[in-house]
Structure formats: C-alpha cells, structure tokens
C-alpha cells in the first residue's frame, strides 16, 4: 500500500506567539490565525517555509457557533502535504477579513467568490465585486440562514415529497413567485436593471501605454456570453487599443447553479452524480476527487482491484479531456474543425468504453466510497488493450505530426500568452497551465494519492509558458496517460471491487477533509466538513478551471484580439466547473 508522505511537524505557534493556535476541534487539523496578523503570517509561510502555492481559499459558516471561518490551503511546489490555516471572525455584519491578494494574487477570484456567497468583506481587495451571482442580488446564498425559493428542508430526502406514500412535486404546490422573498421595497414590475457600472468601473482601472506613442481612444468589447469561442456561456470584457488588449476581465456566473449549496442539502452519496456535472468532460476525475475526500473522512481502505480500475478510468478521462481541449484549441486558432473531429473520433472510442463500464458516456457516476459501483464487464479489457496498445499511440503521433510543425500553429502559439513560472505560482495556476510554465508540479507525484506511486510515468514540463507549450504539454500527457494505463492493465489484480456491502447511506465521522486529485485541468480538490449528520455541513469544490482563469487577464494584456480566444483555449476551461 501507499507509504504516507512524511508529515512535517511544524510548530507554527511560535511564529507569531499568541496569535496562532492549533485547531483543536475533533477531526480538524491546521492552525487558527488571528485575523489582524493573517497577512504577516501568510507572507512568513511563503517566504520562510516555502509554502508558495496557495491553492484554495474558502469560507465556512458556523451558524450554531455564531462565527464565520475562512480556510486557506497552502502547498509547496516542491511537493508535500497540505498546510491549512483558518481565520475565524464573529458572524456580525460587516464581517471583515484582510485580503491576501498582495501575498498570493491567485486568491483574487476566490475571495470575490467568498464575498459573493458568504458576504465576507476582504479589506484591501482591489476589485471586490460579486462574481457568480448578479449585481443587485440580495443576500449571500451559502450562508446557512439563506433560504432559496421553493425551500423545503435543510437536507434531503425531503419528507414533504411523499407525505402519504405518493410523490408530490414541490413545484406544483407553489405557484410561481409565491415563496420568493423580495428585498424590502423591491417591485419586480418597476425594476430597471442597473447596468454594469461596477464591471466597467473596474475595467477602466488600468495602466497601458500605446506602443507607438500615439494617444488613442480605447473601446470596450464584450466577447460573450453568447460567442462561438468562449466554450460556453463565458464572457470576456476587454479594453482595446486598436487590435491590442489594454485590459481584460473575465465575467462568469452565467451557468451558476450553486452546486455547493445543493451539495449541503444532499447526503454524501447523493453528491456523487452531482460531481459529474462540474467538469462534464471528465466526470470520472471529479468522482475520484470526491470519493477520495470522503474516504479520508471515513478512514476506509479501497481494495486493490478498485484502485486499478479507478486509475485506468481516470487516465482514460484525461485522454478524452485532452482530446477535447486540443481540438477546441485548434478551433480557436482558426482551423475549420478538422483536427477537432479527428480527435473526437478517439474520444468517442473511449466514451464507448465508459458506456460499457459505467452505463453512461458522459455523466458516469461510477465511483463509490470504498471502491467503484460495479466491476469491469466481460471483454472490456480487450477493448481497452486494443486502444492503449495499438490505436491511441499511433493517433497521438499522427496529431503530433500534423499539427506540431504547422507554421501557423507555431506562429500563433510560440511566444504568445506567456505566463512565467513565478507568475503561474503566484496566480495559483495548476495543471498543464503550471507545468507548461516550467514548474514540475503534478499532484500524482507531489502528493501521491491512490496507487499512482506504483507507476512509471513522467511529469511533462515545458519551459516557456506560452500557448504552444500548453499544447505540447497536453499532447505529451496523453502519451503518459497511455503509459499508465498500459501498466495498470498489466497489473490489474483479481478481487473485490468495493469494500463491504454497497450502501445508500454512509456514516461519516465529524471532521474536515481536503482531498485533491490531478484532474486533467489542474488540481481538483474537495473540501468537505462533516458534523456526523447524513449531509455534509460544507461541501466546497476547488475548481481548477475557475482558478486557472485568475491569470487570464494578466496573460492577455498586450496581445491581439485573436489571442483572447487562443489563450482561453489554451487554459482549457469548462463552464460547468467555472460557474459551478
């Protein structure tokens, strides 16, 4: 079995005596930091202890204790386990916490999200606006005392749905608008939308000097939310000096469905199919992350065979995702669908395998706590073998041959949208985006989970951090995934595929858990807090596509309009995950 990584026994309480204490709640770990010393503490951690990658920031509402908490998860890019620290503040508005943007610029979008969903004000944040909800939204939905329309009960299964053995649909009980709580003095009939002064106001703050020294008027161009190249309902607001981008802000939330609030209503197992809908191109990776997180809390082992099946499926998912990502990137670079369709052909073949194994092509819902839902069906191994030993290596080489030396691909990719290694770390970028910038950081190696420490594979790194390198990293990662699957198939043992009996309701001990996997798009992590009840108290998704968008504006400034879509394509986002 896996050898646990050596846990560093840091004693941080001496760092700032009196202001840093150990989190002593049962099931919790990490440190509680006084809010006035947070910035100092974070910069000391970064500069003196090497915790340079702050991957996740999120809030938790402890309503019964009448306090709010902001939880930070920091890592070293040289690898190693998590270090988490928390700031606790009383739950009386205005709730204020100092912003960490000055230390880790990567928290910018995440702090905006916390402000939006929890109403915690980050003092010193340069651009604190709502991000997922619309301007003018009343309330902060992830607070425990915020109730949505059609609210029934705190947790599922809702008893009102079958009062006398028959299913009643709640929507039919409520006439439209009956239980929507409008803010005081709000009349929907007389409401005039406010416009987007906040967005354009923050967009107007930029420093840009024209290259030719001519004073030009700048125009604002919005790409999206309905636009062929934004990969969904994503919007980019850009200030243009002719064809050159002077400033750029991503605007998101058009697909927001408050996944995390739904997750708090669901039971633990009910969340599994919901995770499919996050990054809907790689549902098995999402399953993996969530299963790992809850298994950590439940403290259960996964049988050998299930581990191998998990790895095979997760790596196949990585190949399908990169097929889609590269195809879409080529489209963004202006090819007329041909490479995309060639790549989709391979993806379809892998989806056939998913269908045979899990019963679904995209929304797989295959992992369970302590294993997987069902064993491999008869004959599927031959299919997978045919793919990974024969077909895929050839096809990947074919794409390499067709595209990598194409003069236009090179001229559009090389030197464009550069993200340096330092910037990539500062902006909390993960996944291919980080590795293309020359940082060899892959969760499968840095903090091995499941059985990844048994396989022989390379962490793909490129040095220049431009669009072309991100393309090359993804292409090479497909080859490495093929390698892992080849080894996993050879080593696949016979045995159980699940611990114990399958069960609808799992008992999860109280505590917190941060589980992360290397999803195709970056570090996908779940932060789950259990209070021992059937539903999680807090269920947070550290969405890689969302956080990888933080450096987007930084990469685009100074580039041309055509690069907006190319850089976006090279980040590889899925809006289901960005907006959650």
């Amino acid at each position: 079995m896996t050898t646990p990584a050596p846990v560093e026994t840091l004693d941080l309480s001496t760092l700032l005596p009196g202001f840093v204490t150990t989190d002593t709640r049962p099931g919790y770990s990490g440190w509680v930091v006084d809010k006035n010393h947070l910035v100092e503490f974070a910069s000391k951690l970064r500069d003196e202890f090497g915790y340079d990658l702050l991957t996740s920031v999120t809030g938790v509402d402890y309503l019964p204790d009448d306090k709010m908490e902001v939880v930070y998860h920091a890592f070293k890019t040289t690898g190693g386990p998590v270090l988490n620290y928390k700031v606790q503040v009383p739950r009386q508005d205005p709730i204020e916490v100092p912003s960490l943007v000055s230390v880790y610029p990567g928290v910018e979008l995440q702090e905006r999200e916390i402000w939006d969903l929890f109403g915690i004000i980050f003092t010193g944040h340069p651009d604190l606006r709502r991000i997922l909800m619309w301007e003018g939204f009343e309330g902060h939905p992830l607070r425990k005392d915020w109730k949505e329309a059609y609210f029934e009960e705190e947790s599922k299964p809702f008893k009102s749905r079958w009062p006398d053995g028959k299913i009643v649909q709640a929507e039919n009980n409520n006439k439209f608008s009956d239980n929507i709580a409008y803010p005081a003095g709000f009349d929907p009939e007389k409401w005039i939308p406010e416009g987007e002064d906040a967005l354009y106001g923050s967009l107007a703050k930029y420093e840009y000097t024209s290259q030719d020294g001519i004073k030009n008027d700048h125009i604002v161009v919005n790409l999206g939310p309905q636009h062929p190249s934004t990969h969904g309902v994503f919007r980019v607001s850009a200030v243009l000096d002719g064809e050159i981008i002077a400033n750029l802000k991503p605007v998101m939330g058009y697909l927001h469905r408050n996944h995390e609030k739904i997750g708090e209503r669901n039971t633990f197992l009910q969340n599994m199919p919901y995770t499919d809908r996050l990054d809907y191109l790689s549902s098995l990776s999402n399953n993996f992350g969530y299963a790992l997180t809850v298994e950590k809390l439940m403290n259960i082992e996964v049988p050998e065979r299930a581990e191998y099946i998990r790895v095979i499926m997760a790596e196949l998912t990585r190949i399908t995702n990169h097929c889609m990502a590269l195809g879409a990137l080529f489209n963004d670079l202006g090819t007329f669908f041909t490479p995309l369709i060639y790549l989709l052909e391979e993806r379809e073949l892998i989806l056939d395998i998913f269908e045979a194994v899990t019963g679904s092509r995209m929304m797989c819902n295959y992992f369970r706590f302590g294993g997987v839902a069902r064993d491999f069906p008869e004959g599927i191994l031959e299919k997978i073998k045919g793919l990974v030993f024969e077909r895929l290596p050839k096809k990947i080489d074919e794409i390499d041959r067709f595209m990598s030396d194409n003069e236009i691909i090179r001229s559009r990719g090389i030197g464009q949208g550069i993200l340096t290694a330092e910037d990539a770390i500062r902006f909390s970028a993960t996944g291919p985006l980080l590795r293309a910038s020359g940082v060899p950081y892959d969760v499968r190696r840095a903090d091995p989970y499941s059985i990844y420490d048994r396989f022989d594979f390379d962490i793909v790194v490129r040095q220049n951090g431009d669009i072309y390198d991100r393309y090359m990293v993804r292409l090479e990662e497909m080859r490495q995934s093929v390698r892992i699957i080849q080894q996993a198939i050879k080593g696949l043992p016979v045995g159980e595929f699940q611990t114990g009996k399958p069960q609808y309701q799992v008992r999860v001990p109280a505590g917190e858990s941060y589980g992360r996997v290397e999803s195709p798009k970056g570090e996908l992590a779940f932060y789950v807090i259990s209070t021992g009840k059937p539903s999680p108290w807090r269920y947070h998704v550290r969405a890689p596509s969302f956080i990888n968008l933080t450096p987007y504006g930084h990469m685009c400034v100074g580039q041309k309009i055509a690069d907006i879509v190319a850089i976006l394509g090279s980040i590889d986002i899925v809006l289901g995950e960005v907006d959650r």
């Binding site: 202006g334 052909e345 559009r412 055509a562």
Partner: protein, 379 residues
C-alpha cells in the same frame, strides 16, 4: 453597333450570371461535401440524391427568414452594402474567355465571351478593388463593434493584397506581351505560364485567398474572435447576398487564375496535337476551363479544411514584408529574362523559373523572421 449586338450582350450576360449563381449554389454544396470527406464525415446528403437539392433548400430557408435591421444601423448603407459586394463579384468574369472560336447561331457569329477588351487584366483589377467598399460599408453601417472591426480588417487586408495580386498578374502580362485575356491564353498554346512562373502562380494563389477572404486569411469573418465579422448583423436574403458574393468571387478568381496561368480554355498539355485539342474541337474550351476552375476551387476548400487562421498582424507582415518584395523581384526577373531570351539566346527563358524558384526558397527561409517578431523568439 446595332440593336442585335446589344441584345446578344444582354443575353450572354444573363446566361453568364445564371451560370455563376447556379455555380455559387453548387459550390456551397461542393465545399460542404468536400470538407466532410476531409473531416471523416458524410456531409449533407438528405435533400435529393447526393444532397443535390440542398442548395435549393438553403435558398428557400434564407428567403423566408426574417430580415433584421439593427435599430441604430445606417439603414440605406446597410441595404446597399450587400448589393455593392455582389455586383463586382458577378461582373468581373465578363472578360474571361470561355472558348476560342465564335460559333454561329441564328445567322450571327457569337463569341464565347462577353467583352474582349484590350486591357482585360486592368478591368479585373479595377473591379476587384470595388468589392472592398461593400464589405467596409457593411461593417460600418451595422453599428456593431465586431462588424466594424471585421470591416476595417478587410479594408487593410484587401488593399495590401491587391498590390501583390496585381504584381503577380504582371508576370503573365509580360510573357504574353498583351493585357488582353485572349492573347494571354493563346500565348500559352505551347506552354502554360505556370511552368515559367511557378512562384508567381503560388503568389497569385495565396493573394487570391486573401482577396476573397478565404481561410487561412478569413480575417474579416474570423468566426472565433469576431463571431461573423462584417456580416454579424445580417440575416435572411441580405446575408445570402454577402455569402453569394464571397462564393461568386471564388469562382471568378479561379476562372481568372485558370486563364492567366493554367492555359484558360486551352487543352491540357497531354492532349495537344490530339483530336481533343482546342484547335481541332473548339467546343471543348468551356469544358476545359470548367475542369480547371473545379480543381482550383478544390485547392481553396482543401486549404480551408486544413489550415488554422493566421493572426491579423502576421497577415499584414506576410503580405508587406514577404509577398510584395517577392513579387517585385519576380517582375524584375521575368522582364530581364524575356529581354535576354529575345536578344541573346532563346533558352535563357528558362532562367525565369530557375531564378524565381531561388527567390521562393529564399522567401521560405525568411518566413520565420517575418512571421515571428524578434521579441517573441524562443528562449
């Protein structure tokens, strides 16, 4: 000039327009099918056998679509722009000869071309440059930022590439010693100009793609960044007109290319001195030029299916820094080669292709420096 002559012109013009418009409709089908084959798909095959009724279905759909005019658009120009685009695309083919000998019909000698003017090439150049007005006005009058950028891009692009296009014509003009299309075709009786002007033909084909806004130079449309460029706000028949202009221009420019460099209506080289040669069976002329047009069109479709879009600033750099100096050098080489061949030795004419291939190789070597600015060089 009598009345019947005018009637003859009108009828010929009408027939040619119909051929072009029918050709446009079937070009769209041809493109979709060819693209589909390249992309491992099938393509439209539902309407009629092999999908041959698809263009009719498309046309019916577009006719019945609601036509929207943006509220703040310049209504007159918005209406005028598609017309201004379509007319030059159709009239440009008037000087392209479809055959050599006139045939007699109702006791009249009828020539297989509309106009035989002695400055045919100049006529083409002048008409081709009118087309840009339609695109600019379409972009500007839509009152849409995407459309305006598409329109501005296309102005810059078409003006830049028109120079190159014109210079690539010069090679053929010099070799034929005439600007008249018929003379140019007849000068290729023994040898197509593509043999003497290999690089010139290449430049012509590239500049053509830019001139008709086809991939990889489809900047004005640039679906990925500008949604649809200058025709973002157009719908219904107005959109169909812009679409028609683009495809008609493709046909027209292929016809011109076939005429200038690929022997026009003349037979293929392996058919000369046989019963299929033009001198023997003159009515094969339209067939030959049709085959040549179809092959050239397939080239355009093939390029679209396989190449990504070059970025706008790189496109301008490519045009101004590479293609224009190259075509100037070619004009010089051709002129000197012709003089030397006339006055010193006939075989010196082969100096033209040899030297121009050298120029071409040099240019290919320079592509890297032209397309990639120094500050973007690899670390």
């Amino acid at each position: 000039m009598d009345f019947t002559l005018i009637l003859e012109w009108i009828i010929k013009g009408f027939v040619l327009t119909l051929i072009l418009l029918g050709g446009f409709a079937y070009l769209t089908l041809y493109e979709r099918r060819a693209l589909a084959r390249i992309q491992a798909r099938i393509g439209p095959n539902r309407a009629g056998p092999f999908g041959i009724l698809q263009p009719i279905a498309d046309a019916v759909k577009l006719i019945f679509k609601e036509e929207l005019t943006p509220a703040l658009a310049d209504k007159l120009l918005f209406l005028l722009a598609p017309v201004l685009t379509v007319v030059p695309a159709v009239v440009i083919t008037a000087v392209v000869p479809w055959g050599k000998q006139s045939f007699s019909l109702f006791g009249r000698d009828i020539t297989p071309y509309i106009a035989d003017i002695n400055v045919g090439v100049l006529y083409i150049m002048s008409i081709a440059s009118i087309a840009v007005y339609g695109i600019v006005l379409a972009g500007w009058s839509s009152n849409n930022k995407y459309a305006m950028m598409g329109g501005l891009r296309s102005t810059a692009q078409m003006i830049s590439y028109e120079l190159t296009l014109g210079l690539s014509f010069v090679g053929a003009i010099l070799l034929a010693g005439s600007m008249r299309m018929l003379d140019i075709v007849e000068a290729q009786k023994t040898m197509w100009f593509v043999v003497l002007q290999p690089i010139g033909t290449g430049i012509f084909l590239i500049a053509t793609l830019a001139e008709v806004n086809r991939a990889p130079f489809d900047m004005p449309e640039a679906e990925q960044e500008l949604t649809a460029g200058y025709h973002t706000e157009y719908s219904g028949m107005k959109f169909a007109l812009l679409f028609m202009a683009e495809y008609t221009k493709m046909i027209a420019i292929s016809a011109i290319g076939a005429t200038l460099f690929f022997g026009g209506y003349r037979e293929f080289w392996f058919l000369s001195n046989t019963v299929f040669s033009i001198d023997h069976t003159p009515w094969l002329g339209p067939v030959y030029i049709f085959i040549k047009i179809v092959i050239l069109l397939f080239g355009m479709i093939w390029v679209r299916a396989t190449y990504p879009r070059i970025r706008y600033d790189r496109l301008m750099a490519f045009g101004w820094k590479l293609l224009l100096p190259m075509s100037l050098a070619l004009v010089f080489i051709t002129a000197v080669g012709i003089i030397l061949a006339e006055q010193v030795n006939k075989n010196l004419i082969w100096g033209i292709p040899v030297l121009s291939i050298l120029v071409g190789l040099f240019a290919v070597g320079m592509i890297d420096r032209v397309l990639r600015r120094k500050d973007n060089a690899r670390l």
